[in-house]
C-alpha cells in the first residue's frame, strides 16, 4: 500500500485535442476510399443545396411573410371588432407577465449565469430579427429587459420566492386566457370580450396545446390510476374510455366534435367551435397520457406499496405520496414527447376549419395576391413549429437532469 501512496507518477489519460483541419484529416480523409466518399458526398450535397439556395435567394417571394406576419401570429384577433381600437396590447401584457415569470423561475432555480443571459437576451432579440415594425421590435427587446429584471429579483430572494413562483405559474394560465378573452360584454370599454372566432394563428395553436396539456394531465393520471383500481366499475370505465379513444383517429374525433355533437345537444346549446375542439383534444390526449402514466405505475416495485401500507398509509395516501411522485418522474421524457406531438397535432383543427397557424397559412395561400407562395409559407410555419417543439424538448432535458430522472 505504501508504494501506491508514495508514487504520484500516474499519468493523466491521453487527451485527444486537435485542430479543425486535423479532425477533418483524421475522420474524413484518413484512407483513399474515405477521401473519395467525402468528395462524392460533398458533390451530392452541393447539387441538392444549390437549387434550393438559388430558389431561396432569387425566386422565392418572401414578401408574403412580412405582409401577413400579424395574421400568422394572432389571426384576426382584435382588429375585426367593429368600432373598437387595437386590442393586441392584451397579448403583449400576457407575454410580459410570462417573461417576468420565466425570468423569476430562472433566478430561483437555475444557477448558471451564461445560459440565463443567453436565453433571456437572445430569444426576443432573435425574434426581433423577423420583419416586424420598429415598435414591435422595441416591445420584444422590452421582453428581454423584463425577464432580466425578474431574474435578478428571483436570484436575490431565491429561497423566499420559491412558493410564490410556483403559485404564479399555476395562476398564470387561467389569467392569461382571461385577458385574451376579455371580461363580459363586447361593448365594454376595458378589455371587451373577443369572441373565439377571432382567435387564430400561432396564438390559437399555442392555446389549444397548452389547454390540452394542462387539462388532460390530471384526467390522464386519474384514468391511469383508475385502470389499476380494484373497484370493477372504475377499472372497466377507465379501460373502456382509453381503448375507445385510442381506437379512433384524432381527426375523426375532431369532425365528430364539429359536425355530430350539435346533433346530440339540445337546440340552443351550441358551444363554440374552439371550445369543442379543445374538449376533443383534451379527451384524446388524456387517453394516451393515461397509457404512458400506466407504464410508470407498473415500474414501481411491489415493495413500495407494501412499505407504505405497513406504515398505515391508505390507498389514496400511498398513491399521492409514494407511487405517483416516482411514477411521474420516470415518465417525464415520454410525457414531454407526447406533449410535443400534441402541439403539432393541434394543426389538425385546420382541417375542420379553424384558423390556427396551419389554417391561417392555407388562407394566406388562397389569397389571390399571394398565389403560388406555398413553399415560402409552409417553410415559415414549419420553422415556427420546429423552434417551439425544440424549445420544449430542450426544457424537458434540463428538467430531467434537475430532477435526477434515471437515477433511483
Amino acid at each position: 500500500m505504501t508504494t501506491l501512496h508514495s508514487s504520484k507518477k500516474f499519468l493523466p489519460p491521453p487527451s485527444e485535442r486537435s485542430t479543425a483541419l486535423g479532425w477533418v484529416i483524421k475522420n474524413l480523409l484518413n484512407t483513399w476510399y474515405n477521401a473519395l466518399l467525402t468528395i462524392v458526398t460533398l458533390g451530392i450535397i452541393f447539387v441538392v443545396l444549390r437549387s434550393s439556395l438559388i430558389w431561396a435567394f432569387s425566386a422565392a417571394r418572401w414578401e408574403v411573410i412580412p405582409a401577413n406576419l400579424r395574421l400568422f401570429l394572432v389571426g384576426q384577433y382584435p382588429s375585426q371588432i367593429p368600432g373598437e381600437n387595437d386590442q393586441v396590447w392584451r397579448l403583449w401584457l400576457d407575454l410580459y407577465i410570462l417573461a417576468g415569470i420565466i425570468g423569476l423561475s430562472w433566478g430561483v432555480w437555475v444557477r448558471r449565469r451564461e445560459t440565463v443571459a443567453g436565453v433571456l437576451l437572445g430569444f426576443p432579440i432573435l425574434i426581433a430579427l423577423l420583419p416586424f415594425s420598429l415598435s414591435v421590435r422595441a416591445l420584444l427587446v422590452g421582453l428581454s429587459v423584463a425577464g432580466l429584471i425578474f431574474w435578478w429579483l428571483g436570484k436575490r430572494w431565491a429561497r423566499r420566492l420559491q412558493r410564490v413562483t410556483i403559485s404564479l405559474w399555476i395562476a398564470y394560465f387561467p389569467v392569461a386566457v382571461l385577458f385574451i378573452r376579455g371580461f363580459g360584454a363586447e361593448e365594454a370599454a376595458f378589455m371587451p370580450n373577443v369572441p373565439t372566432r377571432f382567435w387564430g394563428g400561432l396564438l390559437l395553436s399555442v392555446l389549444l396545446a397548452i389547454v390540452g396539456i394542462a387539462v388532460s394531465f390530471p384526467i390522464g393520471v386519474a384514468l391511469a390510476v383508475g385502470r389499476q383500481s380494484s373497484l370493477p366499475i372504475v377499472r372497466s370505465f377507465s379501460v373502456l374510455y382509453i381503448e375507445l379513444i385510442r381506437g379512433v383517429p384524432l381527426i375523426s374525433l375532431l369532425f365528430m366534435g364539429q359536425i355530430m355533437l350539435p346533433l346530440f345537444l339540445p337546440q340552443g346549446a351550441n358551444p363554440d367551435r374552439i371550445i369543442r375542439a379543445m374538449v376533443v383534444i383534451v379527451m384524446f390526449a388524456a387517453a394516451y397520457l393515461a397509457e404512458n402514466v400506466r407504464g410508470g405505475l407498473q415500474a414501481i416495485p411491489k415493495g413500495q406499496y407494501e412499505a407504505a401500507y405497513a406504515l398505515g398509509l391508505n390507498g389514496f395516501q400511498t398513491m399521492v405520496f409514494i407511487v405517483l411522485p416516482q411514477a411521474l418522474r420516470t415518465v417525464i421524457p415520454v410525457l414531454v414527447g407526447q406533449f410535443i406531438t400534441l402541439f403539432k397535432d393541434t394543426s389538425l383543427v385546420a382541417i375542420v376549419g379553424l384558423l390556427d397557424l396551419l389554417g391561417i397559412a392555407r388562407s394566406v395561400i388562397a389569397n389571390p395576391k399571394f398565389i403560388g407562395t406555398q413553399r415560402e409559407v409552409f417553410l415559415f410555419i414549419s420553422l415556427f413549429y420546429f423552434v417551439l417543439s425544440y424549445a420544449l424538448s430542450y426544457t424537458s432535458r434540463r428538467l430531467e437532469a434537475a430532477l435526477g430522472v434515471g437515477e433511483r
Partner: protein
C-alpha cells in the same frame, strides 16, 4: 441475558388460531397456532418456502389468510378496512429489501407516516425522527436520500421509519438477508437494543446468534406448519424433531 424485560404472560397481544392460506392450489400455511405476549421476542426460522415470511405478512394483512383467526392488539383481522388500518398503525414492519422511498430524504421517509396518518405536527415528527436516527446511530444522514446510504444504513433507517409510528409490535422479515456480511452486525445491534427495551418482536431470520441472545421463543417452520417451538436453549441443545436437527446442523455448521 440478565436484564431480560418482563413478559406479560396473561394477555397475548397476538393470537393466531388455525391460520390457513393457499396460493391457488398451493397450501402455504397449514394451520398455524401461535400466541405472542407483550414484550416477547419471537424468532421464526426454517427452510425457504416453508411459509415463514408469508405467515409474518398475514399479521399486518400484507397477505390475506383464508381460514382461521388472527387477533392483533384485541382487533380481529377481517375484510373490514378500518380494522386493517388500525392494526397497521400498531405494527411496524422491516423488509428484506428495506423498501425505503427513494424519492424522499431519510427525514421525509421517517416523518411521512406520522404526519399523514397520526396527524403529528411536522416539528414534533422531525424531533422524534432525529431521536430515532440517534438511536440507530446515524443522525448525520437525515438530509440524504436512501440511494446515498449503504445497505446497513438503509436498513437502520427502515427500522427508524417503522418505530416512528410508535408501534406496539415490530415485524422483521429477514432483515439481514440482503446485507453484505460486514453490515449485518450494525443492524443486529439495533435489533438487540430494541428487544431489550421491551418491544414485542416477531423476527424471521437465520441469525442464530441473535436468536440465542434475545429470543424468548423460537418456532421452526417447515412446509407451512410449526414443527417445533420452545425457548432457544431447548431448541438449540435438545431439538425433539429430526427435521429440526437436520436443519440446525445444516445452518450451524456453515
Amino acid at each position: 441475558m440478565s436484564n431480560q424485560p418482563q413478559i406479560d404472560g396473561h394477555n397475548p397481544i397476538i393470537i393466531c388460531q388455525d391460520v390457513h392460506k393457499w396460493y391457488g392450489q398451493f397450501h402455504v400455511l397449514r394451520g398455524i397456532n401461535m400466541e405472542v405476549h407483550k414484550g416477547e421476542v419471537v424468532v421464526i426460522f426454517g427452510p425457504s418456502g416453508s411459509g415463514k415470511s408469508t405467515f409474518i405478512r398475514t399479521i399486518n394483512r400484507l397477505e390475506e389468510h383464508q381460514r382461521g383467526q388472527i387477533i392483533v392488539n384485541g382487533i380481529e383481522l377481517t375484510h373490514d378496512v378500518r380494522n386493517i388500518e388500525a392494526i397497521r398503525m400498531e405494527t411496524g414492519m422491516v423488509f428484506q429489501q428495506f423498501n425505503l422511498f427513494p424519492h424522499l430524504t431519510v427525514m421525509q421517509n421517517i416523518t411521512l407516516a406520522p404526519i399523514q396518518v397520526r396527524k403529528t405536527s411536522k416539528e414534533e415528527a422531525e424531533a422524534t425522527a432525529l431521536e430515532l436516527l440517534k438511536r440507530v446511530g446515524i443522525p448525520e444522514q437525515a438530509k440524504k436520500y436512501p440511494g446515498q446510504l449503504s445497505g446497513g444504513q438503509q436498513q437502520r433507517v427502515a427500522i427508524a421509519r417503522a418505530l416512528a409510528m410508535k408501534p406496539k409490535i415490530m415485524l422483521f422479515d429477514e432483515p439481514t438477508s440482503a446485507l453484505d456480511p460486514e453490515m449485518i452486525k450494525e443492524v443486529l445491534d439495533v435489533m438487540v437494543e430494541l428487544a431489550q427495551s421491551g418491544m414485542t418482536m416477531l423476527v424471521v431470520t437465520h441469525e442464530m446468534g441473535f436468536a440465542r441472545a434475545v429470543a424468548n421463543t423460537m418456532y421452526f417452520f417447515d412446509e407451512g406448519q410449526i414443527i417445533e417451538s420452545g425457548p432457544p436453549e431447548e431448541v438449540f441443545h435438545n431439538p425433539k424433531e429430526d427435521r429440526t436437527k437436520l436443519f440446525l446442523s445444516q445452518i450451524l455448521h456453515h
